[in-house]
């Protein structure tokens, strides 16, 4: 399951999609909208995607993960539109027989997603807004 959705993400559906009886570990990673960003207070976030391409690139990342780690299944869902603080923008589920490879593959998945999947985030503050890309994220921690 590799999807762009415009409403809340159904985490249980991702878990059901990846878990098999061969698995001893299921990792669910949830990326959520955070109040503070680079010293400013965020009112909400807006995500925009190029959905047709984003879904293909997410599936490509899933293939990359399977060539690197002995994992069973991967699912990724990213939300677009307006997100309030605390809401999930992205959920990644990974299943594997053992936890070590599941953790490693999940870390790879979210890093890679932020690197190459065509999805953009706009931070909206009380006094302005800005699209956030790699050119103005470099100094963030």
């Amino acid at each position: 399951m590799f999807k762009i959705v415009d409403g809340p993400i159904d985490e249980l559906a991702l878990e059901d999609d990846v878990r098999t009886d061969a698995d001893g570990a299921v990792i669910i990673f949830r990326g959520v909208a955070r109040r503070q960003s680079r010293g400013r207070e965020v009112v909400h976030l807006e995500y925009e995607a190029y959905p047709e391409m984003a879904e293909k690139v997410m599936a490509q990342i899933g293939d990359e993960m399977k060539t690197r780690w002995p994992i069973t299944r991967v699912a990724m869902v990213h939300r677009t539109g307006v997100l309030e603080i605390g809401q999930a923008s992205v959920v990644i589920a990974v299943s594997a027989p053992h936890r070590g490879e599941a953790f490693a593959a999940t870390r790879y998945a979210i890093d890679r997603l932020k690197e190459i999947v065509p999805i953009w985030k706009k931070e909206v503050w009380s006094d302005g807004s800005q699209w956030i890309g790699w050119e103005n994220e470099a100094h963030t921690h």
Binding site: M53, W120, I132, E135, N136
Partner: protein, 89 residues
């Protein structure tokens, strides 16, 4: 002389997102180009009207695959201008 020999035009469907979309004031453009045009030719043409394309250079995808500036364009291609993606740590 046949049409092919006399530089017929092609047309590509350009899609703009996020900061590029806001700078251009539109999310889609149909842009005519000379046959044989490459991605860099299209970018040079568009940058004249949309300076943000060169101020914050991003990536280009043709028909959902990332390409480089030398890639040749064909009639009907969907060319997406991809500003730097969402980052976040």
């Amino acid at each position: 002389m046949s049409e092919t020999a006399s530089h017929p035009n092609i047309c590509v469907h350009v899609r703009l997102f996020a900061s590029y979309r806001e700078a251009a004031g539109t999310s889609r453009l149909d842009t005519p180009l000379r046959s044989g045009a490459r991605v860099r030719d299209l970018m040079a043409l568009l940058a004249a009207d949309i300076p943000a394309l060169t101020r914050a250079p991003g990536l280009v995808a043709v028909n959902h695959t990332y390409v480089n500036p030398e890639t040749e364009l064909h009639d009907g291609d969907e060319v997406a201008l991809i500003p730097p993606v969402s980052g976040g740590r």
